[in-house]
Symmetry: C2
Subunit: 405 residues, 2 copies
Amino acid sequence: MNDLIKEIKGGICAPLGYEAAGAVSGVKSAQGPSKGRDLAILRSIVPAACAGVFTTNVVKSAHVPLDQKRLANDRAQAIVVNSGNANALTGKQGMKDALAATGLAAQLLGLKPDDVLICSTGIVGRMMPMAKILRGIRAAAKQLSPKGANDAALAIMTTDKRPKQVAVEMEIDGKPVRIGGMAKGAGMISPCMATMLVFITTDADLPAKTLQTCLKRAIRDSFNMITIDGDMSPSDTVLLMANGQAKVTPKGAGLRLFQEGLNLVAGRLARMIVEDGEGATKVISVTVAGAPSRDRAARVARAIANSSLVKCALHAGDPNWGRILTSSGAAGVQFDQDNVDLHLGKVLVFKNGGPTKYSAARAHKELSGKEVEIRLNLNSGAACATILTCDLSEEYVNFNAEYHT
Amino acid sequence: MNDLIKEIKGGICAPLGYEAAGAVSGVKSAQGPSKGRDLAILRSIVPAACAGVFTTNVVKSAHVPLDQKRLANDRAQAIVVNSGNANALTGKQGMKDALAATGLAAQLLGLKPDDVLICSTGIVGRMMPMAKILRGIRAAAKQLSPKGANDAALAIMTTDKRPKQVAVEMEIDGKPVRIGGMAKGAGMISPCMATMLVFITTDADLPAKTLQTCLKRAIRDSFNMITIDGDMSPSDTVLLMANGQAKVTPKGAGLRLFQEGLNLVAGRLARMIVEDGEGATKVISVTVAGAPSRDRAARVARAIANSSLVKCALHAGDPNWGRILTSSGAAGVQFDQDNVDLHLGKVLVFKNGGPTKYSAARAHKELSGKEVEIRLNLNSGAACATILTCDLSEEYVNFNAEYHT
């Protein structure tokens, strides 16, 4: 971590001028860490510049086209988030429901509907229980507070076991600037876009176009480089608000520092999502180095990280490196199998076309902790990429066979 | 099934002029249905035209380049198959071992080494236990018999629960022509090539070039349209031998009938592989219709069939059609989500952009049998494709966490 950036408390409300709330609408069960909280509102005290990145899935939650349309003015002041129902594959009624929800929030908060965004997460293909949602919005609007970040982080969870928040502060032009974020993840996490809900706030003063550029850069190495199960959600959204309350417009070195802070917030949240993957018992980092391009490195790393066979083996701490190399060979990227090196943790297991004389016990040990590192060097270039993923456990299958009906 | 094609017994030895054997080399455990058989030899009594299709994985078993080189003469007379060790990622020593194994077989059978092919399947990344392999080849060579098909089918199994064989007979130009086949599958099964070992014999008289064309056609709709876990093996090979002993050269309508027979053999073997997928409890057929092209239909079907979330839901018979549509939207194929129809078995669950008023109990029933049909109509073209897959069970994870070390 850059010495100029320090971690602070407060999540999305750490930056000046933000309020949040997490209320109970009755959609989600009262059990679990959220204690029934399932309706969050995030509000800036003034209109904020806003950037967004959305799922690339052809199938989209109703909120995605609505938010995209509303972001045409580069601005937002409040975001409603409901968990338990993704409002996806709900047709015209789904869009009406999203309009009604944001309409009520706008009215209660005294805002224009165009300045209110919405994100929905949860079960796909079921109509929104609007009586509950509207009741939740009323409750959340009353509870808005600069101390509400934790409640909001709890309210956006679905199958997450823990709330995910982070905030940092850095000095730019002699003044403190803050960035805060919260996320929810757990299942249906795959690269090729921010595949979860993520909300980031800052009190820096930045125009939406700069924000959008900064957000895309931050996403590239964080949310786009994680995978839980290779499935991509129709709701995935990352929103970044900048309300200018710190009275600083980062430029030059200041903007670079801001970008670093943003990368840090995004990276932390991405890692938290993997740590909390459904059924996950360990975080696996797959690095492919020595590739002709970053894109090709990432494709190979992703093929390894998405292999069920690899993830099952790593769940058991099994140094089954044959599966790792085999999945790497199916990525559609050419390389010479006799010229690659593979490390499991610090143990070199494959070199010069064949297995090394490694100690199986040591290799097993390298894979048995909570953090596992796999490093494949293709020795055919200078580019490199890292994908974070988790293991595949019986719990994942149990969980996903039971969820829903 | 075409009335002109009838199913017969005898597997790969059903066509005239083939002998097979399945011997114990000591690589595989003596437990299980194979009773330790792990070394098969298939021999034609005369040199046979031979066609082959191999894995597209960059990482290849030693046998793949060796067989490809030897098939340059369009001919083969014997095939050695060892199970328990894939001879993959074994470097130069692996190639020496493959040469030694085929060399011994050629010597024992009185053939040129160039007319002997080899296929290896099993664990990846471990050197071949050559003393055992050579002993197994000696034993198998002695046991070769026109009645050895079943032993051979047992000897090529790895995690398969059942041997997989089929044979058909048809009349061409007034004479009977036969096609027989055997396969092994179980794990690491994915489309994008024949992803398993398959051996097909015929007594038709056909040049290698025609055979190769027929084989590619047969594979397109069979082995290339199944997936167990999306993982692609480095050993995948399909070989087709034609020894001419039926004294018939299929042409015109006769060749079309031969192709149909071959398609049937390939289709049956492909289905058997899915039925016997690791941990599988049901066969799921995913059909995507109304697509602008067959390729796009297949891409969408594959995305559904490879989704862990879909496969877990179907394991439980859960009509979680949201996951099906969501995975279809991530295939990189454009369609209008408000214009698709989705059937689970006979139950229409989604139409006009939203769920229908279907009976959840009936939908659950449609998914509870051994055979499940999913049919997605994109309503944007006339092309169609079907992928066969199986469900994802706790047993798959248990199994693949324990396998290997």
